[in-house]
């Protein structure tokens, strides 16, 4: 079962995406997005990216979704609707769930299942990453991210400047008249 843990996590990822794409009230959508962020972090961690998984938790969940949470609490006050209280939401959720379960059962059914859309997908190498030799005692991903400040200086300048301009634009938008 542990060889399929990444596939199971990706199925839970898709099911939680169905949960907020069927659009119940935004506060429940935000809750399910938090769950899908945690499961997405688990997928990234399973492939060995510990720093990128931490980025998902800190920046994405802890920064962006907290802002979404209190904006939802501020801007929408009424009786929030759950998945079961509206036929459209429930129907969309069930359709999405069924399509994902069909896909998962088709993939897990045989050992040599091969799906060709544009590229060939097969489930054989699901838990193995390509081996290019010895990388020494350091983590490649952490060194690549640390290269943001040496090779990617221009990227830092552009993103810092665009964040600064974004703050100014938001201040002008919320000023109104």
């Amino acid at each position: 079962m542990m060889t399929y843990i990444v596939f199971i996590l990706s199925v839970v990822f898709v099911v939680s995406f169905v949960g907020f794409s069927s659009k119940p009230s935004p506060i429940y959508g935000g809750l399910v997005l938090i769950i899908s962020g945690a499961v997405g972090c688990g997928i990234v961690l399973s492939f060995g990216g510990s720093f990128l998984g931490l980025m998902v938790f800190l920046i994405y969940l802890g920064g962006m979704l907290v802002v979404f949470g209190y904006t939802t609490a501020m801007a929408t006050e009424q009786y929030p609707e759950v998945w079961a209280s509206n036929k459209a939401v429930l129907g969309a959720f069930i359709v999405g769930l069924l399509s994902e379960l069909l896909t998962a059962c088709y993939i897990l059914k045989g050992d040599d299942v091969e799906v060709e859309v544009v590229l060939k997908f097969n489930g054989a190498g699901d838990w193995v990453i390509y081996d290019t030799g010895d990388s020494g005692f350091f983590s490649e991903e952490a060194m690549g991210i640390a290269a943001l400040y040496s090779y990617g200086t221009w990227l830092v300048i552009v993103t810092g400047w665009s964040l600064f301009i974004g703050v100014l634009v938001i201040m002008e938008v919320t000023r109104g008249n």
Binding site: M64, A147, T174
Partner: protein, 98 residues
């Protein structure tokens, strides 16, 4: 390529369709936009980690920076709509009448 990519791509398509099909709240569409950014981040991170593209490891962080910019801008627009109309219902945005 592994089957995980199919599920993550399916998640992207689901939240993209959720973004395009409106119900009543504008906030739900913004949440679907955030879902799209999350699925793109996971797909990018998994591809980089599988193929050992070391220097490309900074691109998920850059994606997250620009996704934060766009989320903040969308939220500020939603706040202004909510200040004008009282709620963030999509049916309030009918000034164009076409």
């Amino acid at each position: 390529m592994s089957m995980v990519y199919i599920n993550i791509f399916l998640a992207f398509i689901l939240s993209f369709m959720g973004l395009l099909i409106y119900r009543s709240h504008l906030m739900s569409s913004l949440l679907c936009l955030e879902g799209m950014m999350l699925s793109l981040f996971v797909m990018m991170a998994v591809t980089i980690l599988t193929n050992h593209l070391t220097l490309a490891s900074m691109t998920p962080i850059i994606l997250l920076v620009f996704a934060a910019c766009e989320a903040a801008l969308g939220l500020s627009l939603l706040v202004m709509i909510s200040n004008t109309y009282g709620t963030d219902y999509v049916q309030n945005l009918n000034l164009l009448q076409c």
